[in-house]
Symmetry: D2
């Protein structure tokens, strides 16, 4: 029985000719084969709980704009509200045909007065979700713990100066890993929104690094203990809410993992908006993670290029999304990861149907990006150009330089003897950029 | 005999009461004792060759503004020009009383037609500088190779797709390390201005990382081979000239060093302007390097906070410089490193005396910053506050959590059993910030 | 009778030797004479209501951290809460010795269910504040209407597509002007946080400009109608909460005023943080407003230079504040305007005493800046240098060019005839920057 | 007879099926009718002289990379070089089939030792170009004077502290207006790259504003004097090379024009990269200019979103270009203006064919954007949505509010009497954004 929140809703069809006010996919066709695989299995879409069902539409200068029946002003029993919210969420997931969803513990269960109450609430809801998963076939892409909203975490969770906060956070992560494992989650994510500092003047960087390193090692140990088969993912972000966050960007996270012996145990969940805030392109972060062997999953959204905060908008730029999937496909595509919409409506988009139009639009954009990227790879114009560009390194002497058989002195002697004086060759950037435009 | 470039110049005195048009230090007094050490030995000032003696005053929209007798339009013999430039440079170093200087090979020797000619020119000038060092007592803080200006490096030096460019770069670094060693340099620096990419579309990130890792390992091997006692330093920068540079910031460089087994062999030379361009504060980069054990030296300057390119201005903000030296002193001060002025005149500051006023001003700013930072540390208000803030971690159970004796399950059980529910405590940021203002 | 919120509090004294944990001014001495005027009369400090007494410590990723007895979770009667809040506020204003305060209507009165209820609530509180003003001698620097927090304003107030929102906003401004007038406010401020757009795709720029122009004209007409003697001030901001705000920066506001015939009726209230977000320095915005004849007042705070949102931190950089007051003093100082602390604690600064330490610190910083700026002006090194730099324009022919007596042809003929070929002269920027450092 | 620079070149054809290494337009078909007009007449493409034929490939960290036969190192006679450069330029313009070109005086003529020599050189080349125009049918979109590269302009042209520089600049502009008029130019452009300041400490803002206002008035007076029928255009830019430029963005230029009585005489030439550097989107600047009645022309390029300087890359983002032409078409399209490629190769794109591929790609991108924008307008989904959104203003009472017939008191009385309490309505931003994606 439907909640009626979205009116008379059913699964949104694929219909390339649909009109502008019709809910239909014009590009996302789950069963279409792309590079030998179904689009659904490539993209592995997930819809997140927090932006669509928890966020009230507030911003730093204004309060709630959304009017949802499960919000506290309209539903006084928190557990009933949580269940109603779950009902509506699954109606939306089902209508969209997304195979996965994602959540923080705080999104799905009422906040309790204690750790014990939080845990009990979580378990109740996990059972509720389990039944829904069984009924719908929907799966959990990843779960995570919200270690940033409650005031106890204001100075950090794992990196808090107070060891009791570290303990509370660790205990909470255990319960969230248990919940994720029970629900068959494909991954477990950690985003350290409060792991960082507001001012160096009151902060001990080195100690906090040790705390964070130990915390993550415990997570990995517990994963193995319980036999959780999914990947552990860290989500980098440079700042906001914290002035400086330790998991700044992919390269910084790599250094952290390597320092704590975790580079083979943990991967990254890369968000477009976080890449932009860190001064990188989305494709840069993906390509870097792939090159370093730690690419895991993506949070798909977009950041306004003129705003300096996390705008979490729905993706709508086909060329940019194409460049992202191009790097993902070059890296072999997703394993346990997927495309999670960490995207929220603008706070003026009040209507339930805005939730649907925005996700449909975003899924279509991703489908277009995936197909364009796949054709680029299949035609191979750029990959061949890149291979040719580095082909000089295939010869013996360059190989010897790279493998460690030559010293600075050896090379200097050869340059001197052979009067090596290389002429530069065109990098053909504009040509390459226009090649991409053949596909988008 | 003086070149007369600066008119009738002699060593600039310390005179706190000097008038606004008098060349005098009002704060920098080399022999003053700060925390038990002479100011000169704390600050280890160096003056760079390139900005003051090589740069013609051009910018992307305009050409030469400076009129120097050693420039090509006024001096047709390149080697004579190089020697005249060195004469003037040493006159300035001496007048300023800076104990050190720094250079790229391309700053001091004429560009040749071949590697062999470059090497010969370099050796000629190194002998010339050696004699000047002997006469004046000036020392070399570090030398480096310019692997970015010549068109052969347009697509990278160590990371070039063409192995011949890698070879040319490697050979050149060997000659610069030899020169630095001969001149008794305290460090050798590498700045990879072209090590990065303009577009991912024509770039193989993983291969270029291997090239860069091998290159740096060769440098370290050669250092040990020749017994060079100084430190090898990498200078991070996020971009400019390249769209993305691999040595993005301190944390990225750390990851790179760790990946290539070099974290105990190489340190960083941190520039204020590069920190700003990377979205960090100067003190952040210093503190991060110290926490990671790779702090080496600083390039002192300042970047305009409203400009998105490398403005390389002289430092003139006492509070900012104080925060930087506070982190440096907390980390134990410089070992082989020092304070190098990687700062240039605005192109409208045409007069020779502008060179002197700018350096005198910058040295005074640093002296004020050092003294303020030292007093902060000696009074210890902030360090004590920080210790108290983390003091909970001194107890046994927190120690056990941090040392690896506790698992997530252990901790969850304890949180549950003891109903741990920590209350946040004020971080007192505004108080701490105002404490700093007691000293500046 | 004290509320006890701040403990046993009394007026904070001027005591330059006070220790780090003592609440005392080390630099702000209201009666000290600077350039012939009392410091208090120069600085005209105001403390704002919203950050210190209304904001709960939330940010986009976390909720309330502050625990205040007048917050809804501790005080269930909204009008009693409003009065308790006012009691505490006046205790703080009095302790600080700030002569002024500032508010939005929504800060001081409970939100009603209708315009009529809002108005009634406002009037009740205005009477309450009037009594407090009479008792303490405190004055209102300016009042303003909050036309951005309530969801009705989500798409703009004056620029809303719905004329009913325009009407509601206009009616509200009338009540706030009445309140400000009754309380003897020195100015009335408008900040158009929602006057702008989220996307051009749903926006009619030209129509919204007409709406905003008409709205402001009504405000000015009403000011004259009621005989309000204060200035009408617009506060520029480039964005946040809105993606693009129409009152982008001082130069944009000037164009808007001129377009609507208001350039002699309305001035600007300039905030440091808004200047930074617009890509300007604080002193740039002040100097621009002064040059255009529309300088009114300042919102004193500081924005984190590494964050892209409005951080509203307390000022603590003496050199920056000095440059700001230097421009203010050059422009003749404040008339009706003043120095309003639009600054908030970091959300980790939980304690009541943090409110006091932060304001004391900020007031001391301003006092230092004012004194340094005054000495700079009195000694006149820079003003003389600037005069000399432009002195060529004092001759007859340049005067004729500037006054409109010469055409392009006249000038071209003279340049040709006299072979005019000017040599550039040094701008001495570094010297000038170091002159400032003599004073800070 | 061909110079051979581009090899065996002829007019590049329209061929949608052309392969990746073939020079052909896949989208730009000059004669195709779009909204009742030929594409060529809509887009009015122009190719600029400076980036492609003058710039040597240097950047702040490296020198010349391009090897062109007319550069000083290969051609010792400056006038011969200028003519050879013009021959090659016209070969490229013709091959591309662009109807227009653009230049600065300094791009086309050798720099002389005096104003008289500059003028003579310019006249010689103008005659040379005139003959080429006659032969090819190519036209001049606009001419302009380079008042920023020569060292005499380092402290400004019109805003220089030295009136002789003002005079030299004015005389130069006269000659460039004469040249533009003689060549039948459709517009005359002024870009004030040095009109601004490096530091307020040595600057008199108010005086410089007067100088700039007088200068522009002289330009307008001279236009009328000689009967030049084209538009006078100012090109806004926020900074670079200057720290702060007076013609910051469209809104700032509007205020300047209005202040000096020029808002009906001068329009703007808007560059994508300058918009981005000012913190705006390209479409924002166009829409703002249209709303203010000062839209003139565009400099088409793109700025790297991760770089803080003027990258002047070729456009290659269809959605962005579509949004730009959507605003242009809504404003009625170009009158005298056009689409000028102010875009340069990356300095690694060494080959002559890179010049062709880059322009062909850019022209195709613009053609795609124009066609998408035209279909958007013709289908009218968004324009209808916007009309409906503001339709409440069509009623009598809102009209009365807007027209000035209502006062704040009138409106407040009505809100009170009718208990007006508007409910917000969805802005449907995501729906609108996805509508755009139907077309690109």
């Amino acid at each position: 029985m439907s909640t009626g929140f979205f009116g008379d809703i059913s699964k949104i069809p694929f219909d390339p000719e649909a009109g502008p006010e019709t809910l239909a996919f014009r590009h996302y066709n789950p069963d279409e084969i792309v590079m030998g695989k179904r689009m659904e299995d490539h993209l592995r879409f997930a819809v997140c709980w927090w932006h669509s069902f928890v966020w009230p539409g507030g911003d730093p200068f204004g309060g709630q704009t959304f009017d949802r029946p499960w919000f506290a002003d309209r539903c006084s029993d928190p557990m009933e509200a949580a269940k109603l919210k779950a009902d509506v969420a699954f109606e939306m997931f089902t209508a969209l045909g997304a195979p996965f969803y994602t959540f923080h513990d705080a999104d799905i269960r009422p906040e309790g007065e204690s750790f014990a109450e939080n845990t009990k609430n979580l378990q109740t809801i996990v059972d509720f979700l389990q039944a829904k998963q069984d009924k719908t076939g929907l799966k959990l892409l990843w779960g995570t713990a919200n270690l940033f909203s409650h005031r106890r975490y204001m100075s950090g969770a794992a990196t808090n100066p107070d060891p009791d906060v570290f303990a509370f956070a660790a205990a909470t992560v255990k319960t969230c890993m248990d919940a994720t494992h029970k629900l068959g989650g494909a991954n477990y994510v950690l985003w350290g929104g409060r792991e960082g500092y507001e001012t160096l003047l009151n902060t001990d960087l080195k100690r906090e690094d040790q705390q964070l390193g130990r915390f993550l090692n415990m997570v990995v140990e517990y994963k193995h203990k319980i036999g959780f088969p999914g990947a552990i993912l860290i989500e980098p972000k440079p700042q906001e809410p914290t002035k400086h966050q330790y998991d700044h960007d992919v390269a910084t996270v790599y250094g952290f993992l390597k320092r704590h012996g975790l580079e083979n145990e943990v991967k990254v969940n890369i968000e477009q908006g976080h890449a932009i805030l860190a001064g990188h392109s989305f494709e840069h972060e993906i390509a870097t993670a792939a090159a370093l062997g730690i690419f895991g999953s993506v949070d798909m959204n977009r950041n306004d290029y003129q705003s300096g905060w996390d705008t979490d908008q729905f993706p709508n730029d086909v060329p940019e999304v194409t460049r992202a999937y191009y790097e993902i496909l070059k890296a072999g595509g997703f394993e346990s990861g997927g495309t999670n919409f960490d995207a929220k409506l603008r706070r003026q988009s009040l209507d339930p149907h805005d939730l649907l139009f925005s996700h449909v639009g975003g899924m279509d954009i991703c489908a277009r990006g995936l197909k364009a990227a796949a054709t680029m790879l299949e035609e191979g114009l750029l990959t061949e150009f890149v291979s040719r560009r580095y082909s000089g390194w295939e010869h013996d002497e360059p190989k010897a330089m790279l493998s460690g058989e030559r010293t600075l002195e050896d090379i200097a002697a050869r340059v001197d003897a052979e009067d090596i004086n290389p002429e530069p060759r065109s990098g053909r950037q504009e040509w390459a950029e226009n090649i991409v435009n053949r596909y988008v």
